[in-house]
């Protein structure tokens, strides 16, 4: 079966374009408001949606995503309510991949098998679980394989040649390259280093490589798109939505996605 992720990257390849991935926090500031933003993302040029599942202790995130998560928790957000957003989104959209992003404990508490089944039911395509490195994700990966869901792995500037095979073994969908050794919302990595890393990971994995962390402006989006199969922006969108509302966030998304989706050289 060809997945939504595969179809998306095939379409981008055919158009000789990089894609654009937008991260939003599920339930921030409310279920309804974040769902409304989510539904508007594809028309603003978003090829893949990363949907954040909030956690009280997001040790890999900077203050923007952490505070968004705390607002979401305050509004009553749970793993189930984030999955409900996906279900709702799928009523009008069967093309845009949805990748859940979050931390292990809430889904460990739910049970990995139950989480995988519920994610599939709600029309989700995959997940990134930040604190499940390859050494610890076997149980969740097995559950995801049963439902043909992609468990996306992260590669980072500290992932050297010795470690890369471990990171790409058994990975599906795409690989997410974290372009800076740091937390979300940090400064962007160097373009030359990004280019080298993307080539290395693409060769090792045979999969598309998306690049995120530290990308905030259309200029940076365009720079990274020259090397990556897709560009990910999170904190800047979350911040714009929080401070200035939906229209401002979507205007930013349009600029970022247009910059990413220029034809490749």
């Amino acid at each position: 079966m060809t997945t939504r992720i595969d179809k998306t990257f095939a379409r981008l390849r055919a158009a000789n374009q990089s894609g654009f991935v937008a991260y939003i926090m599920g339930g921030d500031p409310s279920h309804a408001a974040s769902l409304e933003l989510m539904k508007a993302l594809p028309d603003a040029g978003v090829d893949i949606i990363e949907l954040g599942m909030p956690f009280t202790d997001p040790a890999a995130d900077g203050p923007v995503i952490e505070l968004a998560g705390l607002r979401a928790l305050k509004s009553g957000t749970t793993v189930r309510s984030v999955l409900d957003m996906a279900t709702d989104f799928r009523k009008d959209n069967d093309d845009t991949p949805i990748i859940l992003m979050g931390y292990a404990n809430p889904i460990h508490h739910m049970g990995y098998a139950e989480f995988a089944a519920a994610a599939k039911d709600s029309g989700v395509d995959g997940a990134i679980i930040v604190d499940l490195p390859p050494e610890e994700d076997g149980e969740l990966r097995a559950a995801f394989d049963q439902h043909d869901l992609a468990l996306i792995r992260l590669a980072t500037p500290t992932t050297d040649d010795a470690r890369l095979p471990t990171v790409v073994a058994g990975t599906k969908g795409f690989v997410y390259y974290v372009s800076v050794a740091g937390i979300t919302g940090a400064a962007k990595g160097e373009n030359a280093a990004i280019s080298d890393a993307v080539n290395r990971i693409r060769t090792a994995s045979g999969l598309p490589v998306v690049v995120g962390f530290g990308i905030k402006t259309p200029e940076q989006s365009a720079q990274v798109a020259a090397h990556a199969d897709a560009v990910v922006v999170g904190s800047a969108i979350v911040e714009a939505f929080h401070k200035n509302g939906k229209d401002a966030a979507l205007a930013l998304v349009k600029n970022l996605s247009a910059a990413a989706q220029v034809n490749r050289p």
């Binding site: 793993v79 500290t158 050297d160 050794a181």
Partner: protein, 397 residues
């Protein structure tokens, strides 16, 4: 001795390495440096030299005659970790880790702290070894542990106030992890307890196990037999693991850990992860955690900043599940009363953390009767808590 953790850092189903990919290479590098160092006699020679001449080891095993009289039962001995340089057991672990950092060529040391004892110990060793030191501390803890904050600054450390989440120990650990992820190549993260990703639980246990090795030799010399029980307070559980480890294979020695029950384990305000929590994943390891029905971490509460943590070291979770150790709890009020009792009867001002172990030690003394023999780990001294106690007594100082 014990043959766990396994090569994946597992104690049964607990432990592991649940960290972001960015931290995996530094953690694996740390593990391999640790494994080399522990086989190197020169590493241990330096450790022993500092332990003896700088920390002041061995710490005495002291027969607490008046507490024993008061308890009307078993003989109570106190393992006097409160007499160590910097006033607690924390320095044993820091000594080992910073000697390892030196070996690895890392000169930037970061640490999290709750009560400030681990922060002070880290700042102390960093000063002695000429290293930069940054201590992450919750804003709430900074307020209730002012003397320790000032000590750290005097020692040349930078104390970073953490205002995220609940502004306590767990948030300090989040921020330390965030710093480590950002500065991994030049930074050594000196974790203060037997928790976190592998190899920390095993490594911290090894550096703290000097407590139990000394205590065993000392009790054999004093009483010519092993104790019936060893009792220690538990936040993350490093002083407990340090004194338990040597006795794990001595099946007749009961190992008793005392968690902080705060305002009561039947309330929402306690820090008793084993008594009131469930297995989960936080700060790099799978272990018992205080959490809600959606897997979100609950705030811990204890009058003692050093026990105010919603998790516990993974080996304790394992010892709990296999039944090798018993875990009980002690409320804020009981600990405060025990603090005053110990001070008046023995002339020893215990850390509020350590005071948690005393009520259960006295219960056990009664249970065991006059032939019984107990070692309680007096993990730290209470000078830092004098302000808290004065406040509770309504005394201005």
């Amino acid at each position: 001795m014990t043959n766990y953790p396994d090569e994946n850092g597992r104690f049964g189903s607990f432990g592991g390495r649940y960290v972001a990919e960015t931290l995996m290479p530094p953690i694996l590098a740390l593990e391999s440096a640790y494994k080399e160092a522990r086989k190197d006699p020169s590493f241990w020679a330096e450790f022993d030299n500092f332990a003896q001449h700088y920390v002041g080891r061995p710490s005495p095993l002291y027969f607490a005659e008046r507490l024993t009289e008061y308890g009307k039962g078993a003989k109570i001995y106190l393992k006097r970790e409160d007499l160590n340089h910097t006033g607690a057991h924390k320095i044993n672990n820091v000594l080992g880790q910073l000697l390892l950092a030196k070996r690895m060529g890392k000169k930037r040391i970061i640490a999290e702290t709750g009560a400030g004892q681990h922060g002070v110990a880290t700042a102390t060793m960093a000063a002695r070894l000429g290293m930069d030191c940054i201590v992450f501390m919750g804003a709430v803890d900074i307020e209730r542990q002012k003397p320790n904050v000032f000590r750290m600054k005097l020692l040349g450390a930078e104390v970073r106030s953490v205002t995220s989440g609940t502004s306590t120990l767990k948030d300090a650990m989040n921020d330390a992890l965030r710093d480590w992820v950002t500065h991994a190549s030049e930074t050594f993260y000196c974790i203060g307890t037997v928790a976190g990703p592998a190899p920390y639980p095993e490594m911290v246990r090894e550096f703290q196990s000097i407590i139990g090795r000394e205590a065993k030799a000392q009790i054999l010399k004093a009483e010519n037999r092993l104790p019936d029980a060893v009792v220690a307070c538990i936040g993350g559980g490093s002083n407990a693991m340090g004194i338990f480890h040597e006795f794990i294979e001595d099946k007749n020695v009961r190992l008793i850990g005392v968690e902080a029950a705060g305002r009561g384990v039947d309330t929402d305000e306690h820090a008793a992860s084993l008594t009131g929590g469930a297995p989960g994943i936080l700060h790099g390891n799978r272990t018992y955690l205080l959490q809600d029905e959606h897997g979100q971490i609950n705030d811990a509460h204890s009058i003692s900043a050093g026990l105010d943590y919603p998790g516990i070291g993974p080996e304790h979770s394992y010892l709990h599940e296999i039944g090798r150790a018993e875990y009980v709890s002690c409320t804020d009020n009981e600990a405060v009363n025990a603090f005053q009792l110990c001070t008046k009867l023995e002339g020893i001002i215990p850390a509020l953390e350590s005071a948690h172990a005393l009520p259960r030690t006295l219960d056990l003394a009664k249970e065991l009767g006059g032939d019984g023999l107990i070692i309680m780990n007096m993990s730290g001294r209470g000078d830092k808590d004098v302000n808290t106690i004065a406040g509770l007594m309504g005394v201005e100082i």
